[in-house]
Amino acid sequence: MILAMIETRELTKTYGQVHAVADVSFTAAPGRVTGLLGLNGSGKSTTLRMLLGLTRPTRGQALINGGRYRDLKNPLREVGAVLEQGLSHPGQTGYAHLMTQARLSGASRERAVALLEYVGLADAGGKRSGEYSLGMRQRLAVATALLGEPSVLILDEPANGLDPPGMAWLRGLLRDHAYVGGTVLISSHLLSELELLVDDVVIIGEGRVLRSGPLDELRAGTQLRVRGGDHERLTAAYEQAGASVATDGRTLWVAGLSPEQAGDIALEQRIPIYELIAETQHLEDVFLSVAEAR
């Protein structure tokens, strides 16, 4: 059995009558990057805060390596977190911030200096973090999370403020972390960016898990875009073959058939085909279809 490095079981947080998070259960496995997707206010950050022991659950469990965050012996050695677009005192230099956190996690000065260089802030280490751009603060936050060389990384919207090279850098870093067996849980509403990174997806909306599973599984079901001579007859023929067909009046969207099958059926019916394109669903399509289904 695979040890689930991060696990939530019926995690619930209620503020008065409002369910910020309700019965959220999912796992994030070692060696994989798990994306927590949702619109702003969907409960992503609250879920992550409960995992990190910053917010107390009303009900349910949030476990890391089988235990609660607060019960971890040396939490910063096991879990690294990036929260709220880079937390630091604006009057403290980037270097001093990292050294403050190094003292907290037991990391060495050399480690802090090396990380400052690794995240591309070696030249800005002496500047106060209040003078940093959002992207620089995010890089500092990533360095902070990596100080204790943790196996688990939990990141809340870490791509905010990063420029395209910064995003690519972060993507590489997180993929490398998962490749060597680390667990990564990342929340974001930047779906196209996440699609390039995650292995597993947990879609959350109004505080509930709407869909979860491997990304490849969720976006399986390639659909065909078909434009032909007689849409009515084509629709009937495809449906007779077991496909589901939708149309916007000009194009048919066919699910449940391969391009070869769709082409052969059209040929049998002697209906000309002007366009036949197999379209793979993107994460955004999956997300929107889940959101619309509610």
């Binding site: 917010t55 937390l87 009057g91 001093a96 956190q101």
Partner: protein
């Protein structure tokens, strides 16, 4: 606990506003010492309390409390470490700013103030842990000191700053009352430090 203490001490001396506040409060108290030793004690006390409030509230103001609680999930240990840091700052402030008082032959007041100031520092940390907003706390307590304890009660009685001044003069009763106020504030702080950290 030791890691939090080391981290908090390092943080305090590397945050510019904390260092400037320590120097500023120190200069004000030292200048007050040239006027009167009682005035010095009052200023040193206000400085100690203000510094404690400032270094504690900064964590909530800039949300770095999250990083602190991630590093030490046992928040009572965080409270203890913050109290020790504030206590240390208070001792530095009082001992350095009071040199003129010692030089003027008022070493008794100097020592009594040095004895009671750490309690006021812990009282400040406890208050900042509950209220979390430095401006509200400092403005509120200055108003309280000025209008209630100062004008209404002439800095006499057992309320926190009056008791502090009495203790700084060598009154055991004053010292006891500062201890009582601090001891009363700590359980509330211990309870309230466990509350959720809100988001944006």
């Amino acid at each position: 606990m030791i890691a939090v203490l080391r981290s908090e001490l390092y943080r305090t001396v590397t945050v510019r506003s904390s260092v400037l506040a320590l120097i500023g409060f120190g200069i004000v108290a030292a200048c007050a010492g040239y006027l009167s030793d009682e005035f010095w004690a009052l200023m040193a006390g206000i400085g100690t309390f203000g510094l404690a409030v400032m270094v504690t509230c900064q964590h909530y103001q800039h949300r770095t409390a999250m990083l602190l609680f991630l590093g030490e999930p046992n928040r009572l240990k965080v409270l203890a470490a913050q109290s020790l840091v504030a206590l240390g700052l208070g001792v530095v402030l009082v001992s350095v700013s009071g040199i003129a008082v010692v030089a003027s032959g008022e070493s008794d007041r100097y020592l009594h103030t040095l004895l009671v100031a750490p309690l006021l520092a812990v009282f400040g940390v406890a208050n900042a842990t509950v209220i979390r907003k430095p401006l509200w706390l400092i403005a509120g307590y200055l108003g309280w000191l000025l209008f209630v304890e100062g004008i209404l009660y002439q800095l006499e009685g057992d309320m926190i700053f009056s008791a502090f001044l009495a203790a700084a003069s060598g009154s055991t009763r004053g010292l006891l009352w500062v201890l009582i106020w601090t001891a009363a504030a700590l359980p509330i702080a211990a309870w309230r430090i466990g509350r959720d950290l809100s988001g944006d």
